[in-house]
Amino acid sequence: MTNRFKSTQPSQEQILWNRFREGDEVAFTQLSKQFYKTLVHYGGKFTSNSQIIEDAIQDLLIKLWLRRASLSEVESVKFYLLRAFRNQLFKTLQTFKAVPLEEDFGDIHFEDSSETSFIEAESSKNMLHKVSYSLKQLPERQREILYLRFYQDLRVEEIAQLLQIKPQSVSNTIQRALSTLRENWEISLMFFCWFIS
């Protein structure tokens, strides 16, 4: 007989998570290491102050360790951590008396930078520039949803839970954001081509 339940085999992450909940420090360290950069990257979309991001991660890790016994099993460790980190970051930002931030999503990192150098052709670079610019024109919430969906690879339901909105509106937002983005981007490309010709 086949068992049709999806989660009969816990993932590597879930095994670590469960060991961590039982107080295994090695498992906790391993998980923290695995997701540290992911959290820093997500934090970077809200503030350019790396001190705040690192403080928030520290506080998150401390809280996780202190509350390990009361944590429950999770379907996705990454989702759990992204969500807990987002909450913590907002708290930390408040104590740091920085501006509260939904307004700020992604302002900092959608600039073109030396990172783009692996796009060899000059025209590709220009295109990246245009896309980044168009992306910046989107409302922050839309940008965050695109980021969570396509970069962090969260499921629509997870994003809905994270942002406390309906899954349907996440899907709608993605569609709407992509089509607005494409429109702006065609226009700016056309404008750009006309300008250099």
Partner: protein, 373 residues
């Protein structure tokens, strides 16, 4: 032009994203041939790739060693806190400090505000007010207490026997002794209130708000201590206050010290007590959102300000009605810095400047004035 549906589908494709983000060169062949099948896909792939890289932005540039160190630091800190919390919980169970101060006996409750019985029937409010009830029942043992309950939508002014004024926010309660002790003034709060404490270093002023004690010699500040909130906040507008927990090892000493010791807050600082973590932290306030009352941002500095405007500010700040003859006093104006004096101190000043007098009747302040030149 490429089609939106195809664009989104390509973005949803996990192996496409993996190819872009992880730069899997072994997948190059696959995507090259995919493009070769239909040349219009070239633009599609190029755009989707550009979009993904753009949404990714800068990559995180941190050494593994550095990350290891950060994680080790967090674990160390967590273990340290684990210890202190265990200690604090033990103290909590063995000696609730404030209990020592009050003998146990029964006494009469004096209630201002008629809604007590309705409130008392609500289960959730019982829980919310549990800690406060416990504290005032101890206090009631030895003295008669007055209680003000603000269930309305507006804030409510409470005038204390020592001349201090308190603006009590909605859904909040305050209790205090009918006559303060000779050596200290003590009030009990659940909810949120803004305090202007009459200066008297000989008679420190204590606010008990859930787990937190705030000690003051004379100053203005806000306390937010709702039973259901995770944090308790003490936010200082002017002067200095000291804050500690009821269960602090040194609570007795902190209370009896002539100076303010322990965690001392000055203007524009706040103490945040995280109830779950049993942690008290100090922070700067720069976020106007936490201050909800007009009075908390009001400096009370007047330069040739018409009396009508001055009274308007007082009315708004303290939530009181001020009645006066506008016509008679139309030419009066005030130049003064009234700062954090309690309301009645401010009124005294204003009356002496304008040669008028005030009385309190039916919850209104009635000013009898003369025309100013």
């Amino acid at each position: 032009m490429i089609n939106n549906k195809e664009f989104q589908e390509l973005l949803e494709n996990t192996s496409f994203r993996a190819w872009v983000f992880e730069k899997n060169t072994q997948d190059d062949a696959y995507w090259t041939s995919w493009v070769a099948e239909d040349i219009s896909r070239k633009e599609l792939v190029e755009k989707a790739r550009t979009f993904l890289l753009s949404i990714q932005g800068k990559s995180v540039d941190l050494e593994e060693q550095y990350i290891d160190l950060q994680i080790r630091k967090a674990i160390q800190q967590a273990k340290k806190e684990e210890k202190t919390i265990v200690e604090e919980i033990e103290i909590n169970e063995v000696v609730p400090i404030w209990k020592r101060y009050w003998a146990v006996a029964a006494s009469v409750i004096v209630l201002l505000g008629a809604t007590w019985f309705i409130l008392n029937n609500k289960n959730e409010s019982q829980q919310e007010f549990a800690l406060y009830q416990q504290q005032i029942s101890e206090a009631k043992a030895s003295d008669e207490l007055l209680e003000v309950i603000n269930e309305g939508q507006k804030s409510k002014l409470v005038q204390l026997p020592d001349g201090s004024s308190i603006v009590l926010q909605k859904n909040s309660r305050l209790s205090y002794k009918k006559a303060f002790d000779a050596e200290k003034r003590e009030v009990y709060l659940v909810g949120e209130a803004f305090f202007e404490v009459a200066k008297n270093p000989e008679r420190p002023f204590f606010v008990y708000a859930n787990e937190l004690v705030t000690k003051v010699l004379g100053t203005s500040f806000t306390i937010k201590a709702f039973g259901k909130d995770q944090d308790i906040r003490v936010i200082v507008k002017t002067g200095r206050v000291s804050v500690f927990t009821q269960t602090d090892n040194n609570a007795t000493q902190l209370k009896n010290n002539r100076e303010l010791t322990g965690m001392v807050l000055t203007a524009n600082q706040q103490a945040i007590y995280q109830r779950q973590e049993i942690r008290l932290v100090k922070a700067i306030i720069d976020n106007p959102v936490i201050l909800t009352l007009p009075i908390e941002n009001q400096k009370f500095e007047f330069v040739a300000t018409p009396i009508s405007e001055v009274f308007g500010i007082l009315e708004e700040s303290y939530g009181v009605d001020i009645v006066y003859d506008e016509e008679v006093m139309s030419k009066c104006s005030i130049t003064a810095k009234l700062g954090d004096e309690p309301l009645f101190e401010k009124l005294k000043w204003i009356c002496s400047i304008t040669e008028s007098s005030y009385e309190v009747s039916d919850g209104q302040i009635i000013i009898t004035g003369k025309p100013c030149k």
